[in-house]
């Protein structure tokens, strides 16, 4: 803590401008108040239709499994959690 209580003091100029970084010419002056997939086509009927229906079923199963997985991790007491979730306003 001791170290950080020193104040910034004037130091010499330095030109490292080519680097875009430079020593502050007068650091004291700056110390004012320091401190601080798409869904595919819609083909219907016939062989293609059956295939699509099958594909649709598989997709639905996959989605149902996903929903069940979400349900497993979803906060159990949703009502209370949502009610208690209060934040202070920020920026």
């Amino acid at each position: 803590m001791k170290r950080i209580q020193r104040t910034t003091r004037v130091i010499g100029d330095a030109d490292a401008a080519s680097l875009g970084i430079a020593m502050a010419a007068d650091a004291t002056q700056k110390q004012k108040k320091g401190g601080g997939d798409g869904d595919g086509g819609g083909e219907k009927g016939g062989e293609g239709g059956k295939k699509l229906a099958k594909k649709g079923e598989a997709l639905k199963e996959e989605m149902d499994a996903l929903v069940d997985e979400i349900d497993e991790v979803l906060e159990e007491n949703a009502e209370e959690f949502v009610k208690n979730y209060v934040q202070r306003g920020g920026q």
């Binding site: 104040t7 680097l19 970084i21 430079a22 650091a27 996903l66 929903v67 979803l74």
Partner: protein
Amino acid sequence: MAIPKVMGTEIEYGITVKNDRDFDPISSCVLLVNAYREEQAAKILWDYDQENPLADARGFQVDGEKYTPNQQENIARNKTLENGARYYVDHAHPEYSCPEVTNPHDLVVHEKAGERILEFSRREATAMLPEGTLMLIHKNNSDHKGNSYGSHENYLMDRRTSFKQIVEHLMPFFVSRQVYSGSGKVGSENRGQPCQYQLSQRADFFETEVALDTMVKRPIINTRDEPHADREKYRRLHVIVGDANMSEYSIYLRQGATAIVLAMIEDGAIDKDLSLRDPVRSIKEVSHDPSCRRTVELASGRQLTAVQMQLEFLEMAQKYVASREVAPWAADVLEKWGTVLSALERDPLELADRIDWVIKQVMIERFLERKGHDWQSPQAQMLDLQYHDLRPDKGLYYLLERQGQVVRLVTDQEITTAITEPPEDTRAYFRGQCLKRYGDEVFGVNWDSISFGIGDEPIKRVLMAEPLKGSKQHVQELLDRSKTAAELVKNLRA
């Protein structure tokens, strides 16, 4: 010619401690940021001396008290990280400001690294809490009770571009870009029109067109004029209208399209007037319409949907990019921007694998349907909230990501690297490397300076007024021949 669009984001996260009746957000935030242990960050000050959040881009200074914490408080609330980021306590929220980057891809990488850093510290902090309690962090913007907190974007701009021009062209752009940058929200708040689901977390909170405020009467365009760089040459456009995005695609497009439009404004390449009759009303109308079919009224009397407005911007951007040399990443942004707008025109649900508000909407809909709940149920709100939960095993966005349900644009390896390594092509490289190499002697940091306390000598402050300098290319040789901070300072002065 437009200047390079150096960019960064500042995300305020929601914080809560489950099962803690005496939950105090500020002390929880302090516990959180201090739980992230990078050796040097524990004693480096954030240098408030050069900050001026009360300067207004319209050319005046606003009255008010500048916040300057005492040193102990300063250190407790501010961490500068080796990746060049600032991780700190802002009011009652933990905030992560990513290091300066030069393109939307790196922005996604570094914003995502921020999520992991918050999650890492959340775990550490929870271990220090009483048994039975659990700290939770959400990358969202509202508690659904009228309290909002921000996700801000920053873009480097040429000081010579008039702020009036920026306002004129950005207003219709910001009102309409929600169609791909919204994070989605169940219901409305802040006296907004009741709705089942809307595109944006934040739209309900915008009450005025242009102002300096960020916490009350929020403006669509914020006028804070604090460049954190050479103020004769640059301004830093501070964007407060955006949502906290989980989707990499939404983050990428939000940043990329905005940066291109800003470059076009600098180059006078926007030749259509899309000014809105009532932007504050329109931003809510657009947000409250997941069909993306509703039109808003332009000052000219024309009626356009938000997607049509974005298509007008895209068309101008395509002409702009074709006619001059632009950033190498622009072509990819234009392609993705076009793909997304076409899908939105056909059916927004086509974007259920990439745009946040659609991913969330489809997830909630499927859940409600299968489990027999409705949009007014606590489950709907819980799903909304938990989409933004940073826990990898419980956060619903991450679950969808793990299941391959969402498109990724960056790799886990890139994100992991960005947790500890600064970008190489901005001054963030110099900042991060100084922390890595001379951390013991780093006294204080701000975006445009780093100061050293060497032995008993006066503090020496190095200024970094050029955001693109201090890159690896610029300083690697200097760093390599400076074994100590004293040598670095000596070499800089030579």
